[in-house]
Assembly symmetry: C2
Homo-oligomer: 123 residues x 2
């Protein structure tokens, strides 16, 4: 193969490789950009309700995502706080912060892969 994709595609075409990525557990998709954004917003707002609102997600859907996540981890990722000084707020465990950090690094590696493949198209 000494021809490149660039030679085959129309000259004015700006081609690139794009894709999506997620984590599966027992064959079922369970962790990706959506849940991560929810966790990040809970960390920022301290509230599942506020986080869901920011994402235009229903409170029910947000709880389902969190319950699902908590069910896949050894220790919960979100601990709802009821009453006390932080009444009604929710806190993320270290495990959640770790998953957010891991996900950031994974996305970075995937971006690098996509950029490299897009560059290869041009060569």
């Amino acid at each position: 193969m000494n021809k490149s994709v660039k030679d085959i595609l129309k000259k004015d075409l700006h081609a690139r490789i794009n894709g999506s990525l997620w984590m599966e557990a027992n064959g079922e998709r369970f962790f990706g950009p959506g849940p991560v954004e929810l966790l990040e917003r809970i960390a920022e707002t301290g509230s599942i309700n506020a986080a869901a609102k920011e994402m235009k997600m229903s409170y029910k859907k947000a709880w389902e995502l969190i319950t699902h996540l908590n069910g896949q981890t050894e220790r919960p990722v979100v601990i709802p706080q009821t009453g006390g000084e932080k009444g009604g707020g929710s806190v993320l465990t270290d495990e959640a912060l770790w998953l957010i950090e891991y996900h950031k690094e994974l996305r970075k590696r995937f971006s690098d892969f996509l950029r490299e493949e897009s560059k290869r198209l041009e060569s």
Copy 2:
């Protein structure tokens, strides 16, 4: 980060990274597993109609895909044959064969990426 995802997820969970990949031209998705499978089946059967049937795709949809592809390449990828010895058959140009080959190699590199990331989850 010295904790691994493995330590966070439930012990009996088999987690892995999965994803999808496609080529975009001017921001629009135009080449991925579907069109490639269609090209491969046209190469095998010599017929757009037979290829579409095998994929349970309408003849109209198959033609749209091919017309779209032919519109993005300098030279057509599929040349419909009408009449003559091969009456009604269709042939793939070298460009199509090259795109199929390129796509195979791209998928292989993506598989490697996914396998590496899945392995990383376990470590």
